[in-house]
């Protein structure tokens, strides 16, 4: 693996920045382009880059498959739970206004969108990683002369 030293050093610097950018896209999605889906794919791409450069086993140590399994379900539960919460607060399913009915600048909508996007982020990141793990674990290691 020493042949990939430059790749390893460069991606070690890049991966935290990619994840940071993913979270920026996630939380800035209300104001600029982006949102849960794009952020989820970007964060998954960061982990996949790690797996490509350092090997799938190293990536599985960093982000264990059990997290992926839980995250996938958790995201859908967060999204659905937001709807159920608005239900319990007296509104319709996914009617976020009921989080803060008295607000004049639609704070309830902001909270609702944030929560829903968090659910999307969880599911998308985990589902992408699940698909990648499932396929990458079956792959034969790439011989060095094929790089």
């Amino acid at each position: 693996m020493n042949q990939h030293l430059i790749l390893q050093v460069v991606s070690k610097m890049m991966i935290p920045l990619i994840v940071l950018f993913g979270f920026y896209v996630q939380f800035h999605g209300d104001f600029g382009p982006g949102g849960g889906f794009q952020a989820g794919v970007i964060i998954a791409a960061a982990v996949i880059l790690y797996a490509l450069v350092f090997g799938v086993d190293a990536a599985k140590k960093a982000v264990p498959p059990s997290w992926v399994r839980i995250g996938m379900t958790l995201g859908v539960l967060i999204y659905g739970g937001t709807g159920v919460a608005t239900w319990l607060l007296g509104g319709e399913f996914l009617n976020y206004t009921f989080f803060a009915p008295a607000s004049t600048h639609a704070a309830g909508q902001h909270w609702g969108i944030l929560s829903v996007e968090l659910g999307v982020l969880c599911t998308v990141t985990s589902a992408m990683l699940a698909i990648f793990y499932a396929f990458a674990s079956r792959m034969p290691d790439l011989p060095d002369e094929d790089w």
Partner: protein
Amino acid sequence: MVHSLPVLIMELGFMAMLVVVAFAILRMRSLFAIVMLQGVYSLLSAAWFVSLDAVDVAFTEAAVGAGISTVLMLGAMLLTDRDARIISTKQKLGPLIVVIIAGLAMFYALGDMPAFGDAHSPANAGVGADYIAATRNEVFLPNVVTAVLASFRGYDTFGETVVIFMAGLGVVLLLGLNGNAGKWNAKPNGQCIAARNKPPMKIASVPKPQKPKPKRQVAVKKKVAVKKKVAKRKPAKPKAGGTS
């Protein structure tokens, strides 16, 4: 909305590059290069979407098309062959006719398309205008796309999230998160390899130059060798339907 001349030239340039890349993909045989060119194609179309002011779509295209799907295609390629099969001209005839008919139908339908940025097009005139007006008064978000996606169309997005969840779940149920670690087998270039009898990785093996022999004999010998190999490996084959 009328585009300025430099933007128009840029858009035409992007479209020309897309066509060039598409033809390059068609003419290429090495699957590695094809996968990479598909990533280039996605990135180019993302740039094109930006110049069309569809920033959110461009973002998704760049992240999914150029990022994730390139990696997944690479993974699929590693499990199969490195080169595309040669297809005779006769076999290409049917698809060619289908493509020509579909292309002509698209050109025929082009006349009904609204002009780019037309305010009176069905997409902009109907519910779209209502969403833009309501976003300002009811959701207070600068990004209308997010408001539509997460608030006005919250049900749809919930459905999409469930679809992604189901896709991940399906793959996990079929292959297992560890890809049936230790139980997989793959056939790169027709050569069956499995986790247990993993050969020293030499997938792109070059056939050894053989002494000139009558061709038929060589073919028969090869067949026998393959049969022997299959017989040897049978006990090591994974049980069907095994999950992690």
